[in-house]
C-alpha cells in the first residue's frame, strides 16, 4: 500500500490527473452538459461524433482524459475522508475503494477505446 517507496507514484498520478482535470474537463462538461442539451450550439450528429471519436488521437485523448483524473480523484478523496471527515478507522477500505474505482475506470476506458 502507501509507504515511503510507493507514495511518490500515487502522488505523481494525483498531480498529473490534477493537471489534466484542470485543463480539459471543464470544457468537456460545458459542451456536453450545457451547450448541447440546452441548444446553445448545433449538436454534432451521431455519425460525425462517432467518426470524431474513432480517430486514434481522440481515442488516446479520451483514455487519458478518463484515466489520470480518476487517480487524481482516488488520492484526493481518500484524504478528504481521512483529514476532512476524520474517517481513520476505515483506512484500508477507503484506500481499496478509491483506487478500485480508479483502476476499474481505467480498464473500462481502455476497453471502450479499443472497441470504439
Amino acid at each position: 500500500m502507501v509507504n515511503r517507496e510507493t507514495e511518490p507514484i500515487f502522488w505523481t498520478l494525483f498531480s498529473a490527473g490534477g493537471v489534466v482535470a484542470a485543463l480539459f474537463l471543464p470544457i468537456q462538461l460545458f459542451i456536453f452538459a450545457f451547450a448541447v442539451p440546452l441548444g446553445w450550439m448545433h449538436a454534432p450528429g451521431y455519425d460525425s461524433l462517432r467518426v470524431l471519436a474513432h480517430s486514434p488521437i481522440t481515442r488516446l485523448y479520451l483514455f487519458v482524459l478518463c484515466s489520470l483524473p480518476l487517480f487524481h480523484f482516488a488520492h484526493r478523496f481518500r484524504y478528504t475522508l481521512y483529514d476532512g471527515l476524520q474517517i481513520k478507522h476505515l483506512n484500508e477500505v477507503v484506500f481499496f475503494g478509491c483506487y478500485g474505482i480508479a483502476i476499474l475506470g481505467t480498464v473500462a476506458a481502455a476497453y471502450l477505446m479499443l472497441i470504439l
Binding site: 490527473g17 490534477g18 493537471v19 482535470a21 484542470a22 485543463l23 480539459f24 474537463l25 471543464p26 470544457i27 468537456q28 462538461l29 460545458f30 459542451i31 456536453f32 452538459a33 450545457f34 448541447v36 442539451p37 440546452l38 450550439m41 448545433h42 449538436a43 454534432p44 450528429g45 451521431y46 460525425s48 461524433l49 462517432r50 467518426v51 470524431l52 471519436a53 479520451l62 482524459l65 478518463c66 483524473p69 480518476l70 487524481h72 480523484f73 484526493r76 478523496f77 484524504y79 478528504t80 483529514d83 476532512g84 471527515l85 476524520q86 474505482i101 475506470g105 473500462a108 476506458a109 471502450l112 477505446m113 472497441i115 470504439l116
Partner: protein, 157 residues
C-alpha cells in the same frame, strides 16, 4: 571512593549495549495525547470550508469522467442508445446536478493553477519568479485548450 561519578557509569552503558529488555524491565508505552477531532471541525472557519470544498471537487472530477465513459459507451452501442443518453443529459435534474459539478470543476481548475506558484519555487537569476508568471501561462493554456476542444466539436455540428 576516588570519584563517585565513575561508579555510576557502568549501568547506562550496559543497558545501552543490550537492546533486549531484561526480565525486570517492563516496556512502557506512552499514551499519546490525541484529542478527538469532530467530523465537522472545518465548519468554523471559511478558510477550512474552502479547503474541504476544494478537496470535494475530486467527486465532480470522477462524476465528469463517468459521464464521458457513459457517453462513449452509448456512442459505441447504437444511435438509439446515444439519443437516450442525450435525453438523460437534457433532463432538468441532470442539468441541475451538472451545474453543481461544473462549479466544482472550476473551483478545482482555479485553485490548481493558483497553487502551482506556491508548490514550485522557480528561480531565475537568483530571484524567485513572480506567481503571475507561473499561474498566468496555465490560465492561458486553459483558455487555448478550451477554445480548441470547442472548435473541434463545433466543426462536427
Amino acid at each position: 571512593m576516588s570519584s563517585h561519578g565513575h561508579a555510576a557509569t557502568p549501568a547506562p552503558t550496559s543497558s545501552a549495549q543490550s537492546h533486549a529488555p531484561s526480565s525486570a524491565y517492563t516496556e512502557f508505552h506512552p499514551r499519546w495525547y490525541r484529542p478527538k477531532i469532530s467530523t465537522y471541525w472545518w465548519l468554523g472557519k471559511w478558510a477550512y470550508v474552502k479547503f474541504i470544498l476544494r478537496e470535494l471537487s475530486s467527486v465532480a472530477v470522477a462524476w465528469t469522467v463517468a459521464l464521458i465513459l457513459a457517453q462513449v459507451w452509448s456512442l459505441i452501442r447504437s444511435p438509439k442508445a446515444y439519443s437516450q443518453f442525450a435525453r438523460v443529459m437534457s433532463s432538468p435534474w441532470m442539468i441541475a446536478l451538472n451545474v453543481v459539478a461544473f462549479a466544482f470543476l472550476l473551483l478545482h481548475s482555479i485553485t490548481w493553477f493558483n497553487l502551482a506558484p506556491k508548490a514550485m519555487a522557480v528561480r531565475v537569476g537568483g530571484k524567485r519568479l513572480p506567481a503571475v508568471l507561473i499561474s498566468g501561462p496555465q490560465y492561458l493554456a486553459w483558455i487555448v485548450i478550451s477554445a480548441i476542444v470547442l472548435a473541434i466539436v463545433i466543426s462536427r455540428g
